[in-house]
Amino acid sequence: MKSKKAIVIFAALFMLFSAVSTQAGAAAVDTSIPEDATIVRTGEDWPTYYDPAVGSDYSDSTTQCNVYDPLVFPQQDGSIKPHLATGWTVSDNNLVYTFTLRDDVKFHSGNLMKASDVAYSMNRLLEIGEGYAYLYKDVIGKCYAPDDTHVVFELKTPFGPFVYALIRFMVVEEALVTANYDKSAATYGEKGDYGKTWLLTHDAGSGPYKTREFKLDEYFLGERFDDYFLGWNADAPQYFKISNMTDPVAVRTAMANKELEITDELQPLENYNTMDAMDGVDLAAFSNSNTFNMMFNTKAEFSDDVHLRKAVAYAFDYDTLRESIYPGALESRGPVAVVLPGFDKTIPAFKQDMEKAKAELAQSKYAGQNITLNLTWCAEVPEQEKIALLLQSNLSELGINLAVTKKPFGSMITDAQSPDTTPQISFVNFASPYFEAGGMLRTRYHSSSCGSWEQMEWLQDSKLDKMIDDALATVDDAERFKKYAEIQRYIFDLCPTVWGFNWLEKRAAQTSYLTWNAVTATEKGENYFMPMGFAIYAHDMTIKK
């Protein structure tokens, strides 16, 4: 009797397991890699979408540049070089860009890349509207391929930084994606899902690494694509892996055990210091275009006064911020990240000066009043709380009260939709969408970005809009940069933001067997300016066995 009941219980357990083991009968792919294979493993915040028409986050961008190729590729000094393209011409009216393509680029399928693949990729990106589409949707009117080696972009309006912006445009193989449309979905009409589901875990690229395995929510594993058009250094990693690993304890342990070659860029300072002390581990610290901003709502009471804003800017203790909270971070000077082409080097930096702060406050229309400012910081970036408390302490010396609120970034986005709900000060980290000053100026201060998290200042300055539009329509780099300089000075005088610092992207790496340009540049004190994701381009690394 007892044994019968036991059998019933075990049967029930077995049924439960069977019910949940949903992949019953599914054959798994053999993804093991040889013990002696060379691999670069890095961790990043998840999820990862490497479909070029979908992903635009850090892990997306890192994976994309290892699996796909853009027409132009960013260089260590912040410039760009032709990549899939060999060159380009611009029409007299600056509206038509014609790119000539290499004829030796193979996709992972073995097929040669044609101009029609490039045109298809851009049109797919624009139609889906996700990922980096925001860079091009207001700019590109038409994209087509007149022959196999030329692709034409017809712009709606002249756009000077157009070629810079193309570093984010990755090319997919049209035939492969088309063959994998999920027609059961009607999202994109007869194109079904436009291949989005298939491209979640498969690639249609030509990049240095082809997909070996993609486990959603776990990792991407790529293996060297032997026919890569740039060829290979014999010591380049045979495999590239990016996984969902950012927990400090897990990262530190994995580094100690040499189970991770390069960490993510979000580790706490103490963790970097611990890893730096490990044998064979060194830190790479390099600049990207990420900046820390205290955005003033210029339409709100108190923060609508330029003198009050300047008083806050002069009261803030920048040195403590860059020495204790973000050691090594670069000094911010005005609205553009100091590493971007087009940054005006003549712009001064705000420094703490309580006398100047008091003088500015005295000139404010709110002088003598009881002033309370509301500040919101982003819950996902815990270090911002320290900055908020530092500012609170600084402002108390001026007699200004600061009410500090922590909010998830999602809520901050909702608050940013109206000047009435936008707090007087918001803490936001911002990186330029492409590596050029225009990307920062337009996204941060043009009226078209009001209502988004990118501009909680609500400047709505028509003169500034015209200046930005005019500069962006200027194709000649030198002339455009001159116009950018004027804009930067104009914004600096308005002081809509306290520009806190320029980020220094830090990562720990196994330098005893890995050669990585970022570490080499850090050690030599050279510039290493790479847009988000491109720093981890595994093709250029080498590994000693």
Partner: protein, 341 residues
């Protein structure tokens, strides 16, 4: 008895319905726009609106719930905003991984808890009882994630004898056929002993971190009940008949003393699922709990509902199982159930 169980199942189904309403509302009223969060801050409002329409987020809450409930009946829990595929597909992938840890953890907890309880009873008032008492208190008051971090540092960093991340080693291929989804079992079914050993090595640390609290509690409960029952007349009578101490402990004392322990242990096993949220994250273990945590952080509303419903279901199944086991152990419960029939 059957009638009683069926009535309980009916009640549990109502609880599940209530849970679904609660989690559905909570997932939708917490701040932040899930469509915007999924697509990123720079995607155009038009694209975001399209996704809202696709997910029925533009409809009233009640309508949204009815759509969701209708789908849930057919095991369609909607699409995950993170993985961009059906939530049920995600659950099918991640649940076996978590079950694998939970089952091992439960096994350790049951065996360890009961054994420690017996030893403690046998040596009541002696130094061993004192040591077990102190260790049990330590286990009860320390949360699982603390053990996880300690194990990570201890076994991964200082004495790297066990793997501390993932399900299997880099050089190990996943089972060639996924049968249960639990790698240890699948490897065994395929006769791949190396794979089995690799998989089991990966789950030992998270499983132990998860079970310590429950094991300590089970040990205290078992000891307390055994000591209490030890003074009862029927035990005194057995002693008077000259029954040996070990026979007395295992045959006459343990069974009745386990009844409250089993009920608590069933709840502890359910709690392991909850504790796994942090532990899986620390060990970078790709299970349902880590998926659930990620869903909550990213406001992946369908995934949140799916994970919570699965956890609710697990809770119910464990409750029913504990009732069955208690009825099996305790004739009074069985007979009472029988008389109701």
């Amino acid at each position: 008895m059957l009638k009683k169980i069926l009535t309980k199942i009916g009640v549990y189904l109502l609880v599940l319905l209530g849970l679904s309403i609660l989690v559905f509302i909570i997932a939708r009223v917490i701040p932040g726009d899930p469509a915007r969060q999924a697509l990123g801050p720079r995607v155009s409002e038009e694209t975001v609106q399209n996704l809202r329409r696709e997910m029925n987020l533009d409809k009233p809450l009640v309508t949204q719930y009815l759509y969701w409930l209708k789908g849930a009946v057919y095991l369609d829990l909607g699409n995950s905003l993170q993985t961009r595929r059906p939530v049920i597909t995600d659950i099918r992938q991640y649940l076996p991984a978590t079950l694998e840890i939970v089952l091992l953890s439960a096994l350790f907890m049951i065996i360890g808890g009961i054994l420690l309880g017996i030893v403690s009873t046998k040596y009541t008032g002696k130094w061993l009882d004192g040591v077990i008492r102190v260790l049990s208190y330590l286990g009860i008051v320390s949360p699982s994630f603390l053990w996880a971090v300690l194990f990570m540092l201890l076994f991964g960093y200082l004495f790297p004898v066990l793997p501390t991340t993932g399900r299997i080693s880099q050089s190990m291929a996943a089972p060639s056929r996924i049968i249960t989804g639990m790698y240890t079992i699948d490897y065994l079914l395929q006769g791949n002993i190396a794979g089995y050993l690799d998989a089991i090595r990966h789950i030992i640390l998270p499983a132990v971190a998860l079970m310590l609290g429950g094991m300590a509690q089970a040990a205290r409960l078992t000891r307390g009940n055994m000591v209490e029952n030890y003074l009862k007349d029927y035990i005194q009578a057995e002693q008077a008949y000259g029954v040996t101490e070990n026979r007395l402990l295992f045959k006459y004392l343990l069974k009745p003393s386990l009844i409250p322990t089993i009920t608590v242990m069933a709840m502890d096993i359910a709690a392991i699922f909850g504790n796994a949220f942090l532990v899986e994250n620390i060990f970078n273990y790709p299970g349902l709990s880590r998926y659930g945590l990620s869903a909550m952080l990213n406001k992946d509303i369908n995934a949140i509902s799916g994970v919570v419903m699965i956890l609710g279901l697990v809770f119910i199944v464990l409750n029913i199982l504990s009732d069955l086991i208690v009825a099996w152990l305790d004739p009074r419960v069985r007979l009472m159930g029988g008389s109701e029939e």
